[in-house]
Symmetry: none
Amino acid sequence: MTKEFAQTKEKSRKTAPAGATLHQKILGDIENNIVSGEWPPGYRIPFEVELAKHYNVSRMTANKVLTQLATAGLIERRKKSGSFVAQPRNQAAILEVYDIEDEVRSLNKAYHFRIEECRERRAPESDGLRLSVAGKESAIYVVCLHFAGTQPFCLEERLINLKTVPQAEDMDFSTIPPGKWLISQIPWTAAEHRIFATIADERRSDLLKLPPNSACLVVERKTWDVSGPVTAVRFSYPSDKHAIIARFAPASA
Amino acid sequence: MTKEFAQTKEKSRKTAPAGATLHQKILGDIENNIVSGEWPPGYRIPFEVELAKHYNVSRMTANKVLTQLATAGLIERRKKSGSFVAQPRNQAAILEVYDIEDEVRSLNKAYHFRIEECRERRAPESDGLRLSVAGKESAIYVVCLHFAGTQPFCLEERLINLKTVPQAEDMDFSTIPPGKWLISQIPWTAAEHRIFATIADERRSDLLKLPPNSACLVVERKTWDVSGPVTAVRFSYPSDKHAIIARFAPASA
DNA sequence: GATTTTTATATGTATATACATTAAAAGAAA
DNA sequence: TTTCTTTTAATGTATATACATATAAAAATC
C-alpha cells in the first residue's frame, strides 16, 4: 500500500460532503495531505495507477484529479518520474479580511497586542488619518501595537466613527484589539485601500523597533457600511518582515 | 451548423500553436469567441454534442473543455439548458487593470516608455521573478521604464510565458509597451499580487533616478489564464510619487 | 570510463460507452 | 386555468481501452 494516505486525519480540514463524488473525495484527500504538511513540497505523491487501485477507480478518474491539481498549481507532474507536491505559493493575507491575529498565528508565533493610546478626537489632526470628507464628526482614536512573539509586528492607528459605531465610546480595548472588535459590531459594505511605501518616521521606528532609514509598508483602509463611514485605519509594517498577498480568481475556484 | 463558430476570425488573438491538441484548439476557439465579444455574456454556446460533431471529437473531449471553462469561470453550465457565457466577474480591484499609460495621463503628464532590455530567458534567474512552479518553460524577459513627462515613473520587469503566449517570441515592443500588448492577446482568469516595500537597490535607483536610501513600493503580479501561467511582472515605484488604490465591495453587490 | 542506444514506465490525450442527475417542456388530471 | 406527472434533453461522472510521448534508467557500444 505504497504509503500512508492519511485519509482519516484528525486535523482534516476539508471534510468531503456526504454525497461527494469519487473525484471530489480523492481530490479532497490529496489536498488535505498537502496543506496539512503530511506531504511536504517535493514529496512524490502516489502514481496514477496506485491511486486508482487504492480508491478502486479507473486510471482516468485518478488522472483527472491529478490534472486538476496540476493546473491549480498544487502539484507538478513529470513523465516517467511521477507527480510531486509543488513549492507553496500560499500564505494569503487577502486584503479584505486581514485579521492580524490570524496572520501572526499562521506564522506560528505567539500573538499579543498593546494599546499605546486611546482617546476621543473631534477635529482632524495633522497625521492625515481622516474619516469622512466632512471630517467634523467625533471619533475614537486608538493606537495599537501588534506583536509576533516578542517582536513588534505591525502598528495600527485607527479612527472609529462615533456616529456609526456609538458603542465604541465606552469600549475597553484592553482585552480585544479594536479591529477584531469592530468586525463583530459592524459589517462593512465597501472598503478602500491605499498602499504605499515610506521611510519609517521616528515614531514608527521607535515603536516597531526599526533601525533608521528602514523602508516601511503602509496600508490605509477606510470602510463604510450602508449608513456611512465606519473606520479609518493605518497599518505600518516593517518592510522586510511582511508582504501583502492579494489573490483574485473566479468565484468557483 | 448551429451558428458561426468564428474559428477563423481576423482578430483572432490566441493563435493555437502548431502542435496544439484538440483540447487546446477547441478551448482557444471558444475563449476567443468569448473575449472578442462574439459570444456576449448570457450567450448560449453550442451543446457538447454539437461541439463534438463540429470538431469531430468525442463528447468526452468536448465535455472536458467545457468543464475546464466552467471551473475557470468563463462559462456557466445548466443541465437541460446548455452552457452560457458567464457575466463578467465582479471588478474586485483596480489592482489588476493597472494600465500605466492611463495612470500617467490621469495625472496630466505626457507618457512615454523605453525598453531597457528584451531577451529570451530559459532558466529562472536570481532576481526572484518566476513564472510557474515548474519554472522550466522558456520565457521572454522585458525590462521597460515608464515616464511621466520627463521623469521616470515606474520600472517594469516582466516575464512572458512562451508556452501560453507563443506570439511574444517575435514581438517588437518598441511601439507598444508589453503590458498593454499582453492585455490585447490573452484574457487572464486569475491573478495574484504581492505588494511590499523595500529600499531601492542600485539598479532601481539608477533607472528611476532616485537618491540613495529611497523607499520603493514593489508590486509583483502573476496572472494565469485557463491554460496556465501567462506572465509574471514586477513594478517598482518611487514611494513618494505613488500609491496603490484598491477598492473592494461585497461580491453580492 | 564515456557515449549512444534501447527499454521500461508514468504521464498525456483521446475514444466509445454507460448510467445518473437535473430541469425544461409536454401532457394529463384536477 | 392550475397542479401534478411523465417525458426528454442536456450535463455529470465514471469506466475500460488505446496509443502517443517524454524520460529515467538500464544495456550496449565505442
